[in-house]
Symmetry: C2
Subunit: 282 residues, 2 copies
């Protein structure tokens, strides 16, 4: 079993002595309820580091009013066995009061990149993400940290903040892992009924449709976005599409699509809000 | 002579190998134009650490529109000889573009503590301070960092952010150093003409007046503040008093004065804006 720490001080003491032995630390921050996507992050961390630390913490400050903080799925027992299977050395699973003691005030503010796409629908979300990530980096002081491309905007924001704040950690992006059928793994998929899950496949299929249009010569972002939107909308249980956007790799909206651009979508299906993205390959 | 680094990468390489030898690093962040106050910070750092790093960087993001960024005094040659005299090992004096390359966006936001007192007169100042301090901590990764009590609000904000963001550094406060006559050492004293400097002594004298009132039994913060204000205002060259406040040690305003409280003032004299503070001893 991996070592389980709930206190910052205990984790730090352990890691300090490992670091003094010259060990390199790989870090996978998660909100728990681990799935195959997390496993890929952990596998890569396992290959590239001496010590692998996984944090499990559902961060309240990145959830907005009326979002799913209270019902976010949790299963520490299961998470620990997955970590064991993947050869994780240390699991850090603090209580909220350990991370945010009374009186905390300082936040990391990510600026414009945090106000577009997800940020436009979840005000304050990325400042919450940035703050917890900076805190966890300071607690773990890893050599490398692993983030999935599923949360592409989050990945870009973290890359930006690491550069902006001169944080001495290497950010390693890991490609999206999809179920058979194309649904991207997400802890929030648990909110979907079997019928809604069927509808959720529309997201992946819409990317395939877009890729097909682009391969056939279509380059107009507006027309591609409209096709994606129309395709997803005609599926049952789709309650709304928060956005369909095509950007360059740095999240700058595009009018003319090129290789390497990203298609990003957020769709509300049943009680779930799913995000996904696709790299235009051509 | 201390080693002089202008590039983050070179400084990091040097410190990395020192740290691997088990050396502890003490850090004194400054805006240069070093004076006796800085010397005290350096002396303490010298006593408590194996390696002493002094940074010299006039941080543009903590200056507001119309403030003295462009005329802030600079003298790197002189600073280097002071550092040599005090046994500093490393001086880090980067250009602005090294610290803020094009496209930087992330800021550290300190919240309410940054909006009162100095923050009310210098909007954004403390976010600028917090951001550069976090960046420098990440670049230097010191064991200890030294801050003067002269900038008392800055000290409290840095203590708060280090705790809030779990930064692994010990903050060491150093008492105010005063010239004969009581004027607190400050790089900005250079803006004062001899006559204005004479008037500036009113600040220290007003603290002595307050201490006397308190010793005589006065506990009403309002009356003490009024006495300080009236005393300072009757001196020539005093262009205005931005604030006179009495707070507890955590900057919470007080109505009834106790031992350990702080009196904080900001006064505009000639072309200078001077801040100072005083711990109520009783």
């Amino acid at each position: 079993m991996p070592l389980l720490f709930k206190k910052i001080k205990d984790l730090r003491n352990y890691l300090k002595s490992r670091r003094c032995e010259g060990k390199e630390v790989g870090f996978v921050p998660t909100m728990g309820y681990l799935h195959k996507g997390h496993r890929e992050l952990i596998k890569l961390a396992r290959m590239q580091n001496d010590i692998v630390v996984v944090s499990i913490f559902v961060n309240p400050t990145q959830f907005g009013e009326g979002e799913d903080y209270d019902r976010y799925p949790k299963d520490l027992e299961r998470d620990l066995s997955i970590c064991e299977e993947e050869g994780v050395d240390v699991v850090f699973a603090p209580e909220v009061a350990e991370i945010y003691p009374k009186g905390y005030r300082t936040r990391v503010c990510v600026g414009e990149l945090g106000n577009i796409l997800e940020g436009a629908f979840r005000p304050g979300h990325f400042d919450g993400v940035a703050t917890i990530v900076v805190k966890l980096f300071n607690i773990v002081q890893p050599n490398r940290a692993y983030f999935g491309e599923k949360d592409y905007q989050q990945l870009k924001i973290i890359q930006q903040l690491v550069e902006d704040l001169n944080i001495p950690v290497e950010i390693i992006p890991v490609p999206i892992v999809r179920e058979e059928g194309g649904l991207a793994y997400s802890s929030r998929n648990v909110y979907l009924s079997p019928e809604e899950r069927e509808s959720a496949l529309a997201i992946y299929k819409s990317f395939q449709l877009a890729e097909k249009m682009i391969k056939a010569g279509e380059r107009d972002a507006k027309r591609i976005k409209e096709a994606i939107r129309a395709f997803i909308e005609r599926h049952p249980h789709v309650k709304g599409i928060d956005y369909v956007e095509i950007t360059d790799e740095n999240l700058k909206p595009k009018e003319t699509v090129e290789k390497g651009d990203r298609i990003l979508v957020a769709v509300r299906i049943g009680d779930a809000r799913l995000i996904d993205n696709w790299k235009v390959e051509l």
